[in-house]
C-alpha cells in the first residue's frame, strides 16, 4: 500500500482513567496507521483497552478519562489533515459521523426507544446540514436496500418492532448515512444469533467493497476477524503487542499472546483437550508489573522479560512485534499450526 493514502494515523496515544486508587492505564502509547479501504481488526481479551481506544478515536471517552499524550491525525477526502484531539467542540460535532462513524455493540440499546427510526436519520441529517428531509430519506432507503432491509417498513418503525439482527443493520445503515471514510465496528455480531451474524458479515463485506470506506473493528470472534480483516492488531493490557497482515498474524504469529489467542480457538477438527486457554488473568493496570506486561502468563518468558519492556520492532515492512523471544514463539507456532 502506498504511503499517501493514510486516512487515520495514531501516534503514541495513551488514555488513563482516574480511579480512587490512582490512574488506570487503559491505553498505553499506541501507534498505528489506517489506510483507505483497509480493514483493521483489534483482538484481545475483554478489558484490554480495545473499546477505550476506539472511543478515544471519536473523543467519546467518559468524563473520568484523560489523554496525557498522543496524536490522532485524520486526513479528509480533500487532503486536509486534522488533529482530532485538538478540535473545538463545534468542529468535533461536525467531524463525528460525517468523517468517522461507529456501529455500537448491543443493538438493542443503541437506538432511542421512544422515537421512530426515521427520526434518528432525520436528526443525524439535520445535525450535519444534509438539507431536506427528502434527501435523508432517499439516502436512508438506498442504504436499507444495501443492508437488505425492507426499506419503507423499517424506516417508519419503532426500534422495538425490529428484531436484533434488523436493528444491527439499521445501525450500520445509520453509520453510513453521511458516507464516512472510517467506520468503527464495536463487536457488531455479539448480540445476535449465529445465522444473523453470517448475514451481517456478508452485508458488511459487500458494502465495504462497494463504498470503499475503511473499517476498524473489534471482535472476540477470531474467525470473523480472519475473514474480514486486512490487518490484525493484538492488544494486551492497553498496548499493541503485535500488528501485521492477517495471513502473517494467523500463520506466523511472533508474540506469545497472539499464539495463545489462536490456540484458544475451538475448531471443529480439533479434539476438546487440544484446546488450550491462557492461564491466569490480565494484570492490574493501576500498578502494572515491570517489564513485559504479559511475562507472568507467558510460557516463553525468560528472566529478561520481567526487567525490560520489549519495544515494538519491525519483523518486516508491515509486521511489527514487541517480544524478546519471537524466534521461539514462531518455532512453536510452526509446530502447532501445522499439526
Amino acid at each position: 500500500m502506498a504511503q499517501n493514502d493514510v486516512v487515520m494515523s495514531v501516534r503514541d496515544l495513551s488514555v488513563n482513567y482516574l480511579t480512587e486508587r490512582g490512574p488506570l492505564q487503559a491505553v498505553n502509547r499506541i501507534s498505528f496507521e489506517l489506510h483507505q479501504g483497509e480493514t483493521l481488526a483489534l483482538m484481545g481479551e475483554s478489558g484490554c483497552g480495545k473499546s477505550t481506544l476506539v472511543m478515544a478515536l471519536m473523543r467519546l471517552l467518559p468524563s473520568n478519562a484523560r489523554v496525557p499524550n498522543g496524536e490522532i491525525h485524520y486526513t479528509t477526502r480533500d487532503g486536509r489533515v486534522i488533529d482530532v484531539l485538538k478540535m473545538s467542540k463545534g468542529k468535533l460535532r461536525a467531524f463525528r459521523w460525517s468523517e468517522c462513524a461507529m456501529v455500537f455493540q448491543g443493538a438493542l440499546n443503541a437506538l432511542n426507544p421512544v422515537i421512530r427510526v426515521r427520526d434518528m436519520f432525520y436528526d443525524t441529517g439535520r445535525a450535519h446540514g444534509m438539507g431536506s428531509k427528502d434527501a435523508v430519506r432517499e439516502r436512508a432507503l438506498e442504504l436499507f436496500r444495501l443492508v437488505r432491509l425492507d426499506p419503507e417498513r423499517v424506516f417508519n418503525a419503532y426500534p422495538h418492532e425490529l428484531s436484533g439482527g434488523m436493528r444491527q443493520r439499521v445501525l450500520i445503515a445509520l453509520g453510513l448515512l453521511l458516507d464516512p471514510q472510517v467506520v468503527i465496528l464495536d463487536e457488531p455480531t455479539t448480540a445476535v444469533d449465529i445465522l444473523t451474524q453470517r448475514t451481517i458479515i456478508d452485508v458488511l463485506m459487500a458494502i465495504r467493497d462497494k463504498l470503499g470506506f475503511s473499517i476498524i473493528f473489534i471482535s472476540h470472534d477470531l474467525a470473523v476477524a480472519a475473514e474480514m480483516a486486512d490487518t490484525v492488531a493484538t492488544m494486551y493490557a492497553g498496548e499493541i503487542v503485535e500488528i501485521g497482515p492477517v495471513n502473517e498474524m494467523f500463520y506466523r504469529p511472533h508474540h506469545g499472546y497472539t499464539l495463545g489467542l489462536l490456540e484458544a480457538i475451538p475448531s471443529l477438527a480439533a479434539e476438546a483437550e487440544e484446546l488450550v486457554s491462557i492461564p491466569g488473568s490480565p494484570p492490574d493496570l493501576i500498578e502494572p508489573p515491570p517489564g513485559c506486561k504479559f511475562h507472568e502468563r507467558c510460557p516463553f518468558a525468560v528472566e529478561r522479560c520481567s526487567r525490560e519492556v520489549p519495544p515494538l520492532v519491525d519483523v518486516d515492512e508491515t509486521h511489527r512485534v514487541a517480544c524478546f523471544e519471537a524466534d521461539r514463539v514462531i518455532a512453536k507456532a510452526r509446530e502447532t499450526i501445522q499439526a
Binding site: A101, N112, P113, A127, H128, H160
Partner: protein, 337 residues
C-alpha cells in the same frame, strides 16, 4: 393495538371503581359496628324510640328503603350514585352531600393542584440538572436537601411553619394564613379577594411542595442518570447531534417516562388533598371536611367524600396508563408480562 390497550385499561379502571363503591356500601351497611347500627343505637338512646322506629328514621337519614331486600338496596344505591346523588348530610340538616362536595372541592383543587405543578416542575428541572452535573457541589447540596425534605413528614413541616415562622418569629399573623380567605373581602373577581385567596393558600402549598419535591427530584435524578448511561445517548453524541436535541428528544423524553405515570397518579391524589395539612391550616378543602365529618359522625358525607376521592384516583390511574402507552410505544404492542 392501541385501541385494545386503551379498552383494556379503561375496563380495568371501571371494574376497580365498581369494586370501590361496592366496598363502601358493604363497609357502611354491613360491617360489624357499621354506621347504620350506630345511628340506630343513638336514636334509641337519645329519643327513646323503639328499634323499628329508629331503624326507619336511620334509613331515612341514610336514604335507603329498609323494606327492600339488600340486593335491591344495593341496586338503588348504585343507581343514585350514577346520577350523582350521594344522599343528604346527617349533621348539617339535609344539605345534599353533592352540594357540600361542590363547595369544598375547588379549594382543594386550587391549593394542592398548584402545589403539584410547582413541585413537579421544580423536581424535573432540578433533578435533570443534578444528573447532568453529577458529583458537583450543586448536586451534593441539593441531594442532601432533597433527602432531608423527603425524610420529614409534611404535617410536621406544617406545624413547624406555624410554630416557628408564625408564633415565634411573628412573620405573619394567624388570621392572614388560617382558613381559606379573609373575612373582610367579598367573593368575586376582585383584586383583594384573589390576593387573600393566594395568601391563604401559600402555607398549604409550601407544605405540599416541601413534602413532595424531594421525591420528584430524586426520581428524576436517578431516572436521568440511568438514561444518560444508555447506549443510544452515546450513539447520539457519536452522531454529532446538537446538545440541545440530545437533551430533549433523547435524554429528557426517556427520563421523563417513569415520572409522567407518577404525575398522572398524583393528580388523582390531589382531590384527597392532604387531610392533615388542611386540618392544621383550617383550609376549607375536601380533606378537612372528611376529618370534620368523621368527628361529627356524619357518615353520609364521609361516604360521599371518600367515593369522590377514590374515583379521582381510579380515573387518574386510567389516565396514567393511557399516557404511558402513548409516550412509550413499547407498551402498546408488548402488552403485559
Amino acid at each position: 393495538m392501541w385501541r385494545s390497550y386503551a379498552f383494556r385499561v379503561t375496563v380495568q379502571g371501571l371494574l376497580t371503581l365498581w369494586a370501590v363503591t361496592t366496598f363502601t356500601f358493604v363497609m357502611i351497611r354491613k360491617m360489624p359496628g357499621n354506621p347504620v347500627e350506630v345511628v340506630i343505637d343513638q336514636l334509641i338512646d337519645r329519643q327513646q324510640l323503639s328499634y323499628e322506629e329508629a331503624r326507619q328514621q336511620a334509613a331515612g337519614l341514610f336514604d335507603f328503603d329498609p323494606g327492600q331486600p339488600l340486593i335491591e338496596q344495593y341496586a338503588d344505591y348504585m343507581n343514585k350514585l350514577l346520577h350523582g346523588d350521594m344522599g343528604k348530610s346527617i349533621s348539617s340538616a339535609g344539605t345534599p352531600v353533592a352540594n357540600q362536595i361542590k363547595r369544598y372541592l375547588p379549594w382543594t383543587l386550587f391549593s394542592v393542584g398548584s402545589g403539584l405543578i410547582i413541585s413537579f416542575t421544580l423536581g424535573v428541572l432540578l433533578g435533570m440538572a443534578m444528573a447532568y452535573w453529577r458529583g458537583s457541589v450543586f448536586d451534593n447540596v441539593l441531594t442532601a436537601a432533597a433527602s432531608l425534605m423527603y425524610g420529614i413528614p409534611d404535617f410536621i413541616i406544617a406545624l413547624l411553619l406555624l410554630l416557628v415562622a408564625g408564633v415565634q418569629l411573628k412573620l405573619f399573623s394567624m388570621e392572614d394564613v388560617l382558613g381559606g380567605v379573609g373575612q373582610d373581602v367579598h367573593a368575586g373577581l376582585n383584586l383583594p379577594y384573589l390576593k387573600s385567596v393566594v395568601q391563604h393558600a401559600a402555607l398549604p402549598v409550601i407544605t405540599y411542595v416541601w413534602g413532595t419535591v424531594g421525591g420528584w427530584i430524586l426520581t428524576m435524578k436517578s431516572s436521568t442518570i440511568s438514561t444518560l448511561g444508555e447506549d443510544y445517548i452515546m450513539v447520539a453524541k457519536a452522531r454529532g447531534l446538537p446538545e440541545r436535541r440530545i437533551l430533549t428528544a433523547y435524554v429528557g423524553r426517556n427520563a421523563m417516562l417513569p415520572l409522567v405515570t407518577r404525575l398522572a397518579i398524583s393528580i388523582g391524589f390531589v382531590v384527597g388533598g392532604s387531610v392533615i395539612i388542611e386540618f392544621i391550616f383550617q383550609y376549607p378543602g375536601l380533606g378537612r371536611q372528611l376529618a370534620m365529618a368523621i368527628g361529627t359522625r356524619d357518615y353520609t358525607t364521609m361516604q360521599g367524600i371518600f367515593l369522590v376521592i377514590a374515583s379521582a384516583v381510579v380515573f387518574s390511574n386510567i389516565l396514567a396508563d393511557l399516557l404511558f402507552g402513548m409516550l412509550d410505544p413499547r407498551v402498546r404492542v408488548g402488552g403485559e408480562e
